[in-house]
């Protein structure tokens, strides 16, 4: 139905623009995935039983290191663990092993994407995982700034201030979400081509491509 008022035209125009932007982004993402899929390394990874499985095993097991260290830090910031140890000391000392773990997870994660790029790009769980990863990173950056600015004033407190506790709680929730989404990527409940709602088709970026993938 044609918009009748300037206000309705504005909403109509914004809706069209958002839809176009989403389609453009989805097209770009799919074209990038198809390009990665055409690389020989993608086929090699995907077709090698041991290589792919070892990369995935490394990715999953390394969460014991990266998220294990992160959970220790977060639990200290909640005042639930190692309360007799200064909070900033826990954060500083466990930062390096945590980042060693995250580095391994980033590399193995990229390789897992390269192995199966198209299905991964059109996985709602992968997309949600990326959103949660970005949110967790923003939360971590903001908290680290707060810790650097004020940490020394509450370092020895067994129960840190509310700001620290909220950030730690948010971190735990976001990373739990990352784990859940990461595990769910393997399931085909919302794969493109399956019968699902328009919203889920949009969320998964299910659009036809030149290569016939959707």
């Amino acid at each position: 139905m044609r918009p009748q008022s300037p206000h309705e035209w504005a909403r109509f125009h914004c809706g069209i623009t958002r839809e176009l932007e989403a389609s453009v982004l989805n097209s770009l993402a799919l074209r990038f995935a198809e390009w990665v899929d055409s690389l020989s390394i993608s086929s090699s990874l995907h077709e090698s039983f041991y290589l792919y499985n070892w990369i995935e095993t490394t990715h999953v097991l390394t969460l014991m290191l990266s998220l294990g260290m992160l959970f220790v830090i977060d639990l200290r910031m909640l005042g639930w663990w190692l309360m007799d140890v200064p909070a900033t000391r826990i954060a500083e000392r466990l930062n390096r092993p945590m980042w060693i773990g995250f580095s391994i997870m980033i590399v193995t994660g990229i390789l897992l994407y390269v192995a199966i790029p198209i299905r991964t790009t059109q996985s709602v769980w992968f997309r949600l995982k990326l959103i949660l990863l970005v949110a967790a990173a923003i939360n971590a950056i903001a908290f680290n700034k707060y810790l650097a600015a004020t940490g020394k004033t509450w370092d020895l407190d067994k129960i840190p201030p509310k700001r620290a506790r909220y950030a730690a709680g948010a971190s735990l929730c976001l990373w739990a979400g990352v784990i859940v989404c990461g595990r769910f990527i393997a399931y085909d409940w919302f794969d493109c081509g399956k019968e699902m709602s328009a919203f889920m088709n949009w969320a998964a970026g299910c659009i036809a491509s030149a290569a016939g993938h959707h």
Binding site: L63, M64, G68, L75, W81, L82
Partner: protein, 158 residues
């Protein structure tokens, strides 16, 4: 007898519940992974401290005593979620070599944690040979790594 238990488990109400919806098994497995992260954190913080790699300016007894609490909590969650997941795929697991590797490593890990490592670390760590502490730490990390790796490999070999 063991095989009949596994068959019974899969046809039990718990097995039926797990198999009813695909999301049930997946959700329980996700909780299993979260508990794995906590167990990994508690084992690594504690054992790496014994190896003088992390938190070297914190008394090792403080680190190990604190870590043991979350080790026990995460282990309980892992055992419960693991049993629930098993009920959905019991017969397949019975015939899977890596499942039995995981169970053997798990039994060894639990026995080692509660009957060797914990009693040893109860006293003053300064009185213990540093090499003994490092060997205990390396054995602990190796066992739990084997549990986790063989657990993942069950999925690839089924």
């Amino acid at each position: 007898m063991i095989e009949s238990f596994f068959s019974w488990l899969e046809t039990s109400a718990l097995g039926a519940f797990v198999k009813d919806q695909g999301a049930t098994f997946a959700t329980i497995e996700a909780v299993h992974l979260m508990a794995l992260a906590v167990l990994g954190g508690s084992v690594l913080v504690s054992d790496l401290r014994l190896c003088n790699v992390v938190l070297t300016d914190v008394p090792s007894k403080t680190v190990t005593d604190n870590a043991h609490k979350y080790f026990k909590i995460s282990l309980i969650v892992l055992l419960v979620t693991g049993f629930v997941m098993l009920s959905g795929v019991a017969v397949k697991c019975y015939h899977n070599f890596y499942y039995w590797v995981k169970m053997a490593a798990l039994a060894a890990g639990i026995l080692f944690a509660f009957f060797v490592r914990a009693p040893l670390l109860q006293g003053d760590h300064a009185e213990l040979n540093p090499m003994t502490l490092k060997l205990v730490a390396l054995a602990s990390m190796s066992l739990w790594f084997l549990v986790a790796a063989s657990g993942r490999w069950i999925g690839f070999s089924g």
